[in-house]
Every structure is written in structure tokens, then in C-alpha cells.
């Protein structure tokens, strides 16, 4: 049997998080009451005209800059025509012929190493409204929510460089990380602020020519994307293995049944009748503007990861986790500025703080402890003022109350007894009170050390620094 390789390209729609919609001043916020963020313009009323939101242009350029695209100083908005109730003007304003960005790429880390996935283009467009199909008594009706109509989008189109479902998922995750870094979108697939269509074909390994491609839609989570592509590769492989041929078509992912279903074939494809929108002049960008936007792009995850590994001697895995969200990495470096203990601070963030962040669904900067608190906590532990175990209690208390670790330690009297003179006194007292055990220890019964340590700590009401107690006991009982 032949073995096949998959050839996959992704088209990703990302909602830009501007305050207003792309062609009117309505709020672009997600989750409002249906049809509360609408006006005659985004409802396509007679006589209305689009006016381009400059903030959306800035964000689209930032996306292009972060992904290494060539920003086009001249781009044009076109009309894409089709009838559907969620499309108020019966055309979508998009960029067909002259998109705002060309080229670009991003790197994914696969098991077999880093792979570069090239981009074809990025263009700007407006979102459509949302159809909500009635249930129960109103099952015969469909409703339209125009809140989403005209929310700004960029469509990021990859080259067919992706070779597996796993790579597709990694590509999307990397894209999401980068876009969140530059704060252009929250990239939430469940809420639809990131949506992905996949073009998939397969060909015998070694074959240069592309097979017939199938487009998959309706995948609304990263996991669905992976599952749908896995399914589709298997489906196509089976057809070709049995001597069949692939039909060029669009298929929908049915998540409940875990399969893709044919939606429309090429013969029924739309003719979208693209032409330049006469209501909008071509979009021109100056070098100055592009330069200004370049300065807003922060250090991106790939280079930040490399720097963390080099500067802070973190493992690739730890660095990956810390740079996976810009907030995590910022929090980490804010803490390091206050107390430079890269390994321990990284561990505290990854093991304790992120657990709380994930549990509570909060952002890392709102989880109850500031970077300074983590720095202080690690410093208290490293200086021996409190034990690691006490540190965890202090952390929990800090998350709960918002108090600083130092305040908690002093309030609870937690700080360790590390005064050698005082400890010496306690040790003397304990040894004197247990002369026979002292003799047995001296004659070689070393396991009794634990017995004495326990008594000393008890005598100090738990405050004695165990490490120092050990040292003093060994010296005393020599």
C-alpha cells in the first residue's frame, strides 16, 4: 500500500479587539444583548456609508509586523457579494485583490524540531452577523444578531506548509500566543474571536503535485481542529487506497459524531462578484506610520524564550511555559527585577501561582499576589527566615488576603529562630534533660539525631531553623 502525506493550509479569521466596529462607531464588544450594538450603518440601511476605523488598520498592521509580513503601503477594500440574512448589505467588505499584508511566517516546535510555516497573505474584512436558530416552540424561526456585523477581522492565510493535524494545532497555538502578545485579540475559539478553516489534500509520499483539496469548516476549538484534520486525512487516505478519487468540496466538522460531512461541492461554488468598494478610497500607509507601529511590537515569544533559556538558565520546557502568555513572562521578569532568583521564582510561578490562576480563571496580575510578593516570598525562604513549607502557607494566605508575605510572617510569628546563641541555649537544655540518649548518640547511635531535633523544635514552639539545629546538635554531641 502507498503511504500518503497530508498537505494542509489554514485560513484563520481573527477578530481585532478594537473598541468600535470597522466601519461605524458601534461597540465591537462581545457578549452584549442581541442587537444592542447596532446602527443604520452596520445594519446596511439605505443611504449609509462605511468609514474605516483607523484603530483596526493599526492592529492589522501590528499583526503583519509580528508575523514578519511585507506591509503593503497601498491596499484596497473590495465587495464580496452573496445573499444571506446575517450579511446586512448583501456584500462583505474585504480585501480581495490588494491585501494589507503579503508573506510572513511563524515557527512551530514539533517533536522532530522547529518548522517554519509560511504565510500567503493577511487581509482586513468585516465580520457578518450571527444566525441563531430557534428551539422548541420557535424552532420554525431563525433569528439574526447584528452585534457581530462589521466587527473588524483579519484573515491570516497560510501556505500549504502544514503536514499533520498536530502541526496544525501547534500553528494555531503559536498564532494565538503571538496575537495575544501584541494585544490585538483574545483569540478565543469558543467565543469565535479566532476561527479556523482548513484546506486539506493528501498525496503519495515523494509526489510533488498537489492532490484535490477539501475545505473543512466549523471547527470551534483547538482540539476540534486536530480531530477534524485527523479524520479528514484518514477519510481521504481510505478513498485513495481503495482506488477512488477525492471530490473538491467544502465539508463541515460534526463534533458530536466526530466526522466531516459534505456541505457543497465546487460545481455549486459561489461567484462572489468581487470589485473595489467605491465608497472607500484605497488605504495608503506611510513609512512613518509603519515605523511607529513597529515600535509598539514587544519582544515576541520565540526570542523571549531563547533569552530566558540563556539569561536565566531555564529549561526549554520551563521557558516555553513562561513565555506562553506575555503576562506570565512579564510577571516573571517583574519579580526578577526585585529579587534575582530565576530558578526559584520560575518554580513558584509555574507550580503555585499558575495553579491558582487556572483554578480561578484570573489573569496572573489579578490573582492576589504581585510580582513583588513572589520575589519577597522566595527571598524569605532562601534567607532561611521561613521554611519552604511555611512558604506555601504564606502564599496561600497572601492569595486569600492580598497581604504581603512579610506582613503575614510577622503577624503569625512565623519567622524562624535562626539566632545561634538562642538555639545553643535550647540545645544545651534538651541535651541536659536527656543524658542517656545523649550518651547513646555519642557512642554511635546517630539515628537519635532526629529525636533531639524534634525536641529542640518543640521547645522553640516550631520556630527553630531545622538546618541550624542540626548543625548545633552535631557540634554539641560530638
Amino acid at each position: 500500500m502507498n503511504s500518503y502525506e497530508a498537505v494542509i493550509g489554514l485560513e484563520v479569521h481573527v477578530q481585532l479587539n478594537t473598541a468600535a466596529k470597522i466601519f461605524c462607531s458601534c461597540s465591537a464588544e462581545f457578549g452584549a444583548e442581541a442587537n444592542s450594538h447596532v446602527c443604520p450603518v452596520c445594519m446596511g440601511f439605505p443611504g449609509t456609508l462605511p468609514v474605516l476605523n483607523g484603530a483596526a488598520v493599526d492592529k492589522a498592521v501590528q499583526v503583519g509586523l509580528a508575523l514578519g509580513c511585507e506591509i503593503q503601503k497601498f491596499s484596497i477594500f473590495d465587495r464580496k457579494s452573496y445573499f444571506y440574512p446575517d450579511l446586512p448589505k448583501a456584500y462583505q467588505i474585504t480585501q480581495m485583490f490588494y491585501p494589507i499584508c503579503l508573506g510572513g511566517s511563524l515557527n512551530i516546535d514539533t517533536k522532530s524540531g522547529s518548522r517554519r510555516i509560511n504565510l500567503t497573505r493577511i487581509h482586513m474584512e468585516e465580520d457578518a452577523g450571527k444566525l441563531i436558530h430557534g428551539e422548541g416552540e420557535s424552532a420554525a424561526y431563525s433569528y439574526v444578531d447584528f452585534n457581530r456585523a462589521s466587527v473588524p477581522l483579519v484573515e491570516i492565510v497560510s501556505e500549504p506548509d502544514i503536514r499533520s493535524a498536530e502541526e496544525a494545532r501547534l500553528y494555531l497555538q503559536k498564532l494565538r500566543t503571538i496575537l495575544r502578545y501584541i494585544n490585538v485579540s483574545d483569540c478565543n475559539m469558543e467565543e469565535g474571536s479566532l476561527r479556523c478553516d482548513a484546506n486539506i489534500s493528501i498525496r503519495p509520499v515523494g509526489e510533488a503535485e498537489l492532490g484535490t483539496k477539501v475545505e473543512i469548516k466549523n471547527m470551534n476549538s483547538f482540539r476540534n481542529v486536530q480531530h477534524a484534520i485527523e479524520y479528514e486525512i484518514a477519510r481521504q487516505t481510505e478513498i485513495l487506497s481503495e482506488g477512488g478519487h477525492i471530490r473538491q468540496q467544502t465539508r463541515l466538522w460534526d463534533n458530536d459524531r466526530g466526522i466531516t460531512l459534505a456541505m457543497r461541492s465546487k460545481e455549486n461554488a459561489h461567484d462572489y462578484r468581487y470589485f473595489p468598494d467605491p465608497d472607500l478610497f484605497p488605504l495608503k500607509l506611510t513609512d512613518e506610520k509603519i515605523e511607529r507601529l513597529k515600535k509598539t511590537i514587544p519582544e515576541l515569544p520565540d526570542s523571549r524564550k531563547a533569552r530566558f533559556m540563556q539569561e536565566y538558565s531555564l529549561s526549554a520546557q520551563d521557558a516555553d511555559l513562561l513565555v506562553s502568555e506575555k503576562d506570565y513572562a512579564d510577571f516573571y521578569e517583574d519579580a526578577l527585577k526585585i529579587y534575582s532568583s530565576p530558578k526559584n521564582i520560575a518554580n513558584w510561578i509555574m507550580s503555585e501561582l499558575l495553579r491558582v490562576v487556572n483554578q480561578k480563571g484570573l489573569s496572573i496580575f489579578n490573582a492576589g499576589v504581585a510580582p513583588a510578593d513572589i520575589a519577597q516570598l522566595v527571598k524569605l525562604i532562601e534567607s532561611g527566615a521561613i521554611s519552604g513549607k511555611q512558604g506555601k502557607e504564606v502564599f496561600a494566605e497572601a492569595v486569600e488576603t492580598g497581604k504581603t508575605p512579610e506582613a503575614i510572617v510577622s503577624e503569625k510569628g512565623l519567622s524562624q529562630l535562626s539566632d545561634k546563641g538562642e538555639l545553643y541555649g535550647i540545645v544545651q537544655k534538651v541535651v541536659k534533660a536527656n543524658p542517656s540518649e545523649a550518651e547513646r548518640f555519642k557512642s554511635g547511635e546517630e539515628k537519635l539525631l532526629g529525636f533531639f531535633v524534634g525536641l529542640v523544635i518543640k521547645e522553640s514552639r516550631g520556630k527553630a531553623n531545622p538546618k541550624l539545629v542540626n548543625e548545633i546538635l552535631k557540634e554539641t554531641l560530638k
Binding site: M43, P46, L49, V51, A90, Y91, A140, D271, R273, F275
Partner: protein
Amino acid sequence: MDNILGLTLAELSALLERKELSSRELIAFYIDRIERFDGKLLAYLYKDAESALKRAEQIDDRRAKGEKLPRSAGLPCALKDLIVTSDMPTTCASKMLEGFISPFDATAAKNMREAGYISLGKLNMDQYAMGSSGESSYFQKTVNPWDYSRVPGGSSSGSASAVAARLTPVAISSDTGGSIRQPAGFCGVTGLKPTYGRVSRFGVVSYASSLDQLGPITNSVEDAAFVMDVLGLNDPMDSTSAPSKTDFYANLQRAGDSLKGVRLGLPEGHLSDLAPGLKAAVENALKDCEKLGAEIVNVDFPLAAKGLPVYQMIANAEAASNLAKYDGVKYGHRANIAELEEMYSITRREGFGPEVKKRIILGTYILLEGQYEEYYRRAMRIRRLIRKDYDAAFKKCDLIVGPVSAGVAFRFGDKTISAMEMYLNDLFTVLLNLNGSCGITVPCGFGEDNLPVGLQFQGDMFAEDALLRAAHIYQQSTDWHKRIPALLENGVER
């Protein structure tokens, strides 16, 4: 009161300011004329006498209290029925938008109201501004006040007819391929198409977005300039809107009375194939211009013959796209059918008239994959070349001059006029829309069957001041614009 008809807007404004005339009297005067004559003329699609009188009284009250009012406060106007208004229906003379009331006001309507103009109503037109005779209106056929068996021209049929019959001193209209200038010529009134971008298109129901432009139809160039000071404001709601200009009227006051030094370009061939009576009137007007000091020079538009097909490609393509939104989902007519695709299709079949359907079908075809390159892209390329011809012409002359139509107003349903001949009536007007610059029609005499003839001046981009000046100087040397047609009231001429 009857001498009101002979007064300019500025003169009426002065009477109002001096309280020698109240706005209520002025508005009541026009409402009376509408009531007496519009039954036969059919220029208005919607009238609201009560609201107009109420607004007039409010303005009179404010004036009585000594409030400082804009100079146009209390003057009447009317709007072509594609300018959306929240206080009156906007139908585009179509069944599709029958009874439609916009949730907002067009910028032009808002600017007029804020300047104190009082709207008498909405004026008939060719359906969706598609036509040259007014006959494609779904509701009624406006007649030409000079001969009720003749069309007033189109698409601004109601506007030109109403202004000629003095049922309003000013109508705000639109010109996509001649829709202001041609009916102004047919009805013997003054019609200005400003430069594309000069007047906001926000709230103007789109026909062909890259060609549509609002402008006034009035009884004189002076009145056109007076109104333009209100219409010429920049509008952030229209991306193609030009910077504000509000000194049209002030500049016209310094016009003088000589055309000395003005070079008028006469396009090659524009005087051939004209109706003889119309031709004579135009030639006399050109002689008048020369007597006023103008120099007539020849200019050439080698691509003129391509103008009409290029215009049709672009206008129909844009129209097909602009009119796609009328799908019955959100507003306007909806066929009572449950299935979606069928609802769309029957809604549009019922809502649009035959001329509109024809243009949508043509425009849709032109934009199909495969046809787009062949037709639309090529049309856009020729459009750019036509603009170069204009640039070249304006190096040889200051303004272009010539007829605005090949013949005088024709009879309703004249079967001797083919569809192609109807389109040929656009020939003298569409090139200017493709160029985007400004033009004006002024009455210049009477031709066949004693019907009015218009003279067209065309200016360069944003050169309204020069255009208005020349047209004004010519007009002041004539009295064509002061002729008022005899109107029928209960079968009796008045």
C-alpha cells in the same frame, strides 16, 4: 404676494430678516401653489403642509424674539425622494421602499434643516434614479410644466418639474449620469452637479457610488450658489467627502458682468445631430457668451463614444451591488413566503421595476468571474483615460460648454424613441460624472414646439466658483430663467 416668484433666495431671505414677509406666509404661498397645481404635475410624492407651517411659525416666533437666525431660516425647499429623512417616507419611487421611514436623516437633509430651510416634501423621480424621463417611478409620472404631454426628464423628474412650476424655489437632487442637468434642461431651470465629494452622500440612497452626487435645482445660478453654502460642508460620515466650502455665494457676488478672458471649450461634434430648434438656441447662447467677452475654443474628446458604455458598465455594476441589500430581511417590501431563497427572489421580483431589474441583471453579469476583467476592469481603465482627456481639455480652456441633450423634452411613451436613443440622451452628461468634476445647466432659450433648451457648462475638479461665475454672468444677460410656464388649474391655464 405674486412677485415672490420673481425673487431670489437671497432677496426672500432679506424680506424675512426685515420681517416684511413671514416664513408662514412664504410657506403657505408655496403650499397653496402645490395644492393648486401638483394634482396635474405630480411632482411631489409626499407633502406635509402641517409640519411645514408649524416649523415656519416656530422660526417666525424665534425671529420675533430677536434671535439671531441663519440667513436661510424660514426658506422653503424640497428633496428628491432618495434623500433619507426621519420625518417623511423615502421611497426612491419604488414599491420596494414604499412607506419606508429612515431611522436617521441624510447629512444634506440635516444641513438644510439646521440652516433653517423648511422642507415642503419629497419629490418624484425615476425608480432608484434609473432613467431619463421620470417614467420608471412606481407611483406616478411627473409631467413637464411647459407641456403636460411631455416628460420632465430624469431621473430628477419631480425636482425639475417642481422648480420650473415654482412649487418650490429649490430642490435638492442627485446626478449620477445627468439626472440633475438633463431634466433642468428639459424644464428650463438651473441645475448644478457639484464635483464628486463636494456634497455628502451619507443618507442618499446609492445608485452608483462612484458617480452619485447631490446638487441643487433652482431658478437661477445665484440661488444654486446660495444653497451650496449649506450643502458644501465636509461630512465625517462619508469617506469621499471633500473639505468644507461655504463661500460659493460670497464669491459669486464678485462675479462682475464680463466673460473676458474666459476660454469656453466646445467639444468636437457636439453641435451635430442636434434637433434644429435646440441647436439654434444653443448656438445663440454661444454667441451671447462671445458677446460677453468669452473666447470659444475647440476641444476634443477622442474617447467620447466610449463614454456611454463605460458609464453603463460602472453604473450597472455598482447598482447591482448597492441594490443587493433590498432582500426583505430588515426593511422595505417583503414577500410573504417562508422559505428563505424564495422569499429573497419574490421580494425582489415584486419590489423592483423593470428598468431596475434590467440594470441589476446587467451589473451582476459584468461582475461575474471571467467577465470582470473583460468589462469592469476595462471600463475602469477607459474611465481613467477619459479623465486624462478632461485634463488635456482643461489645459486649453477654462470651462467646457455645449448642449445638455440632443433634443427637447419628448412625449410620454414616445415609441419612436428607442431604448438606445433614450440612452443617447445621456451622451452629453455622463462623461462629466466619469470625470467627477462639476457642471451646470442653465436655460438658454426655446427650441422645437416652444420647449426649453438648456446650455451646459462643465468645470474642472472643485472649480465650482469659476463654473458658477460664468453661468451666472451668462444668465444675468438673459431672461430665460425668469420665464414661468402657464400651469393648469381645474383645466384652466394660470
